[in-house]
């Protein structure tokens, strides 16, 4: 390390010794390749460093039992490619239709080797610039006012080759196994090395430390051949179908819960691992005791002198000796390669396995350093999908868009529509957009109103956490009024203690949509952009501060929000009331009538009919509209004009007819007008 530091200071003066790139990406895993793809499409100068000889080295080893728990839904009954990505958790984003995961595997839960193969193809088919066999062992900064961020990133690899980059994208994931140290932890086998052959566990009693997916995956594998399995962890098991968080225990791995709850065969225990101690007896059996007992004992004494909990408490739960103890405690980010000047700090509490980053995915410590992929999960840990391929493929795209704007003056992509398309554009997105769906409450579509609300600009999948910085981050002019569209679960619906199957869990009526529990679209309306202070002080569990108005589209069993009355109509009313206008559609005939009888026209007529794009409609539709009472049929009306001119019986028309005999002329009044 000292050498590397020396080297960097030595070579700082003559930067020719550095290989320079605008963008350096560390790690050719899914997020690194995803970032590389976007940089490549934008023709940026970038390179990906990968310590292994191939991409996705994590997947070459993990999961140990080779079954991915990310779903590969090949059939959805829909051909909409964007929608289908909602149920494709493995594909990365690209324009190449060959690179869809369903073309790689027929399995609903594919094999990890397929992922490795997929990532190899992704890198090679798209000709991504990946430098393999390059392990970045040190990263430091070089101050330079000319640099994009006031400094360059200096990277050193295992061969002491140096690289200089303007922007650093860290896509290394979390790969350092979490280890707990306690007396006897030397007897513990790690998930990363434990045998995956069930035969090796035949007739054994096993203790597993941890209660995550890797722990259950390990248990699932050996469940059939062991005597019994106990699992111990600090916190309770959290089931992902109850919490809506894909990082919690997935149903595919939870066979142990069955045997535990049905037959008390296997079991789950809660306890602090730090208080544990493991003692090995002469037969090689492992006994669980408490660190407390060990501290008090005579160090010279043998195993027999160690107090075991069952000595005092003869029904102690884990009194039976174990043949093996396996550690399945997950992984953490590798902080070791970063020089302290980068201030890569671990997060707080349960986020300590991730580096601290802002909602824009930029490091809190260093400008220009962005964390992508699994390592960026601190933004939405235990909430959304940012730690998983199906989520971070979108956040990576968002980071790329932020970078394009910041360094290349390319504003956030957007489309400008006439206001008549407002309802449609929202309905289209909430029905098909995958980014909004996967990264619920994290990525949001933004609608900026333009030109006195006669037009609007639509921005897709903006990180909602940096809404206050919208102008700076997107290069878009700050609007007065804006809508923010995101997807949310009902607050308080999901959680470890909650029964998510209770009766009446679903809302059907649009007027109660705000109580929807399942993932549904929510639209926030602001009269002006929220400030950073407002963002900071937003209510807990709210992705955004209090809006000026809010709309929930009622949850739907089919996640199909296109019902005209239950979904679209209430949305239109909401938008109309926010904008104080009438957003209904009208047939050309109605616009014609309005053109002659009103000084102002509704937007649909103004932007359509008047511009010679009126909706003529067919005979059948016209009739339906008349039957609905929404259009008047003037052909049927029996007016006086149709009668022979000498039928005078209708007195009500007298006033408007030609007068015959003035009864009592208002002579003076008539005269008065001429004076």
């Amino acid at each position: 390390l000292g050498l590397a530091l020396y080297a960097s200071s030595l070579f700082a003066a003559s930067s020719a010794a550095f290989l320079y790139h605008d963008y350096c990406i560390i790690g050719a895993g899914p997020s690194g390749l995803q970032a590389a793809y976007f940089l490549q499409r934008a023709s940026r100068d970038y390179v990906v460093f990968e310590r292994s000889h191939a991409p996705g080295s994590f997947f070459a080893l993990y999961p140990r039992h080779r079954k991915l728990i990310s779903i590969n839904k090949r059939y959805t009954g829909k051909s909409n490619s964007e929608f289908n990505l909602r149920h494709d958790w493995n594909s990365l984003l690209s324009h190449d239709r060959r690179l869809l995961f369903r073309r790689y595997s027929r399995d609903f839960f594919p094999d990890a080797d397929t992922m490795v193969r997929y990532l190899e193809d992704f890198a090679s088919l798209l000709k991504l610039r990946v430098q393999y066999n390059t392990a970045i062992v040190h990263v430091t900064l070089e101050r330079d006012r000319q640099a994009w961020n006031g400094h360059y990133f200096l990277l050193t690899d295992q061969d002491r080759q140096n690289y200089k980059c303007s922007s650093l994208l860290v896509a290394t994931g979390t790969w350092v196994p979490n280890v707990v140290n306690f007396p006897g932890s030397e007897y513990v086998e790690g998930y990363e090395t434990v045998s995956i052959n069930p035969e090796d566990f035949a007739g054994q009693t096993v203790l597993i430390l941890g209660r995550g997916n890797s722990a259950f995956e390990t248990a699932e594998n050996i469940l059939g051949v062991t005597n019994f399995i106990h699992m111990v962890s600090r916190s309770r098991v959290r089931l992902s179908w109850a919490t809506h968080y894909v990082g919690d225990l997935r149903a595919i791995n939870n066979g142990l819960l069955d045997t535990y709850q049905l037959k008390s065969l296997d079991g789950l225990l809660e306890g602090n691992l730090e208080d544990l101690a493991i003692v090995k007896d002469k037969k090689g059996k492992l006994h669980i005791t408490l660190r407390f007992y060990l501290e008090n004992r005579n160090t010279s004494a043998g195993i027999d002198s160690i107090t075991l909990p069952q000595d005092e408490l003869d029904n102690f739960a884990t009194r039976a000796p174990y043949d093996r103890v396996i550690r399945c405690l997950g992984w953490k980010f590798d902080f070791s390669v970063y020089n302290s000047s980068l201030r890569m700090m671990p997060g707080k509490g349960d986020k300590k396995k991730y580096p601290q980053i802002k909602p824009s995915y930029e490091s809190r410590g260093t400008r220009g350093l962005f964390v992508l992929g699994t390592a960026s999960h601190s933004v939405d840990f235990r909430k959304s999908a940012g730690g998983f391929i199906h989520g971070f493929r979108y956040t990576t795209r968002a980071v790329h868009r932020l970078l394009e704007n910041r360094h290349h003056g390319v504003p956030w992509p957007s489309t400008v529509y006439p206001i008549t398309q407002l309802t449609n554009s929202i309905i289209k997105r909430v029905n098909e957009a995958s980014g909004l769906y996967q990264m619920f409450s994290v990525l949001a579509d933004i609608i900026l109103l333009r030109e006195n609300a006669t037009a609007f600009e639509y921005l897709e999948e903006y990180p909602v956490g940096v809404l206050a910085e919208l102008e700076m981050q997107t290069g878009k002019k700050g609007p007065n009024e804006l809508f923010v569209i995101l997807m949310e679960y009902g607050r308080n619906f999901s959680g470890a203690d909650k029964d998510v199957f209770y009766y009446n869990r679903a809302v059907g009526e649009a007027q109660h949509a705000w109580q929807s529990n399942f993932l549904h679209p929510v639209i926030y309306f602001y009269k002006r952009l929220p400030t950073e202070r407002e963002m900071r002080l937003r209510p807990p569990d709210w992705p955004l501060p209090r809006p000026d108005a809010i709309h929930h589209i009622v949850e739907d069993f089919l996640t199909d929000w296109t019902a005209p009355n239950a979904h679209i109509l209430p949305l239109r009313r909401f938008l109309e009331n926010c904008l104080s206008t009438d957003l209904r559609n009208f047939f050309a005939e109605s616009c014609f009538l309005f053109a002659f009888t009103r000084q102002k026209l509704p937007p649909f007529c103004r932007q359509g009919y008047v511009r010679m794009q009126g909706l003529m409609g067919s005979e059948g539709l016209w009739r339906h509209a008349v039957e609905a009472g929404l259009l008047e049929d003037y052909t049927l009306t029996d007016f006086l004009g149709n009668r022979p001119p000498d039928s005078h019986e209708e007195s009500q028309d007298q006033l408007l007819r030609d007068h015959v005999i003035p009864v009592r002329p208002l002579q003076h009044l008539v005269n008065a007008k001429d004076e």
Partner: protein, 837 residues
Amino acid sequence: MSAPKGRWVSSFSFLLLCASSILTRGRARLLQELSPQEYFSTLQAGRASLAYFSRNVSPGAQPFLEQIENSAEALQDYGISVVKVNCPKEDVSGYCGKENALRKAYLFRGNTLIREFPTDALFDVDSIVANVLFALLFNEVKYVETLADLQDIENALKGRSNMVFAYVPATGTAEHRAVMEAAFVYGTVHQFVLTTEATLLKDTSSDEPDVSSARLLFCHCQRATDLAQPCRRTAMGQALTLLNIHRHLKLMGAPLVTEVAEDPEKVSTVHLQLGLPLVFILSQKETYEADRRTAEFVAWQLLGKAGVALLSRDLVDLKVLLRSNVALKTPNEGVPIKYMVLEDTDDVVTLVEEKSKVAQIQEDEEEEEVEEEEKEDNNQDVQDDQVVEAVSRDKKRELPLEQILALTEDTFHSALLETAQTVVLFYASWEAVSLAVLRSYAEVADHLKGTRGVLLSRVNCWDWPGVCTNENVTQFPTIKIYEKGERSVMYNGMWGAEELISFIMLSRVSCPLKLATMDEAEGYLRGEFPSELSSYHHTSLLGVFSTATSEAREAFEEAGNILSGHVTMGMYVEDDALALSHKYAVSPPALLLARSGGQSVEGIALSKQSAQDMVQMIRYELLDVFPEITVQNLPRYLQLRKPFLILFSDGDIGQMESEEMLKLAKGRLQQGFVACWLNLKKTPVGRGILKTYFATMPSLPVLIWVNLHAGGQVFRFPSEQSITESNVLSWLEKLKAGLEIPSSTLSEEDWKPPLPAYDFLQMMETAVPDLPLHTSHSHGDTPARRPPKSPGGDTAVQEEPSQETEAEKVGSPVRDLRGTAPRLATRDKQGKRHSEL
């Protein structure tokens, strides 16, 4: 039965308002039961009481007892207590001992007996109240039997006070009661006269009255000076209920003519408060006396129907035409005062009567609406978008889409290469406007069936978003025409079958079409060449260029590109012969315009114009001089942003009018307006326009001047004048000089949201008061209101394990088959309008 009863209750409560201030009473038990001793010892001087004596309740008296009990409350409002006196068995003294006493009711004032009523005269509450009040108000309500009696009373009243004369077919009826109740309040102000004699009614009415229904006349005797003449009478038009009588008397009591010297918008009179219009007679100093007489004359005519006010224009700065002499203010709030020029007093009366009829209809409708609304607590969830509703009503019908090829991501590009011309409709299967267009598109496909070289296809962007994005389709619907995979044209015309067919057909011919020979050019002008367009009636444009004029030619070609599909444009490049230019007396570069099959060819010189200018010029030249306005072509004329002079005609217009109008229109360049006509047979919605302008249909044809773009004033050409160029021109002169009164003015109203949205923010705040929504934002404008419990408001947020019971309790609307979790046995019906699954 329920409706009149309801009205009765409301009138009763109304009277309470008037009467309760006069009467103070302790509201004890309504029907008292006392012994004879108790009863007679508690009688107070001046207080009336209705008593009946009872020994054991005899079965026959039971209904009577019930009725009298029911009337106790009504009578109490008039300070009359109702007492049941229980006669002890042994007591045969006094009333208890009287023969038949038990079949009678006795009315006492203090301890004086006023009247005895046989129980059969007191058959229901109305009869009890009517008869009791009738007995008590002996002086206030005179009963007459002959005309002479009536005249005596009338004469005695002349110059002193007014008389209310009521005829009821029988006493003891609801009408009788209403009259008596009114007399109780107004008896000291007006003399009430009652009769049941049908002959008397006939003698007092000019027409043949219906003797079976009650009638009330207000006789203005106070003003009467001539003893020989009967007092002026104003009959009450409505049914005899207490409320109506009260209203009528109020109106009669109001001043005949109110003199006003302030902004009429601010004026309010009894009439307006009672929902009647107020007519202003606009007056000036010079004509004040005459105007006052007119106003009084009108007021007498309108008595009971509208108020009349005399407004001095000298005192108020009115921003209306000097010619206006009458103004009408309706009780509806927000409706501006309408100023008019009326020629005789009858007009004023008719006007008011018209109004009241319309108002009556509206009121009825409103009542229905209110009932409707009561049934459905809100109508936010009722579809009010005509397109969406029409499409959803049509959704069960299978569309004939066989002629239209459905393209996918895989077939899109190959399909474009197969046919010379591929028309693609990009749509979204959930979007109403797209689906409406798809229906017209099916008609187009049917019409073009068998046309070679044209393929009609569609892409559902909901299924294939990638295709739509690649083709730059950002909104639905979009129609593009692809020419053998080369270039594509976006359709930008009306979304109608006819327009689309014409566009597709015109697009098949290159624009401009290069004409090689003189014959072709001539044939083109006649509309015979190219043959595929001969069946489409259109105006042909031919650009004539010399070989030298390349600049104008390029501009012309570019203009052709822009106008492709909308216009047929030909181009002829002359060699040295210049034959065409000679024939039509133009010098190239020039434009020849052949309207309606080459019968007339106009020549227009082309100067150095840009393509855009040329497009503008061509569009302008293609407009008709005196067009028939239709739904389809209006936008083209709207773009001129000029006032419209429009002749509404039921069917074709007459020869004479047509010629005169054409003469007018020919000078349109100078005059700056669009002269046009509208055929109500072809464009029936024109009736809707006339209805808005005039409330009722005027006689046709009618010539209207409407300035759509500035001010929105509508003028109607005087119907007594014939439509000739000179008449119209001089009328237009007057219009411009501001000498004409607009018939109406187009509403300036903005297009606001038709209905409110669900206020989820407020629902959340009321349901979850702890939600720290307010602390976090600086512009908190709505303080938290926290009603105890909002309906269905707390299932999701406060739920703990007891969600189910909570939800049941609130009766929340979540148990149908919608949403995300079906409950297959729906017990109670919740949805009203949406079809349940």
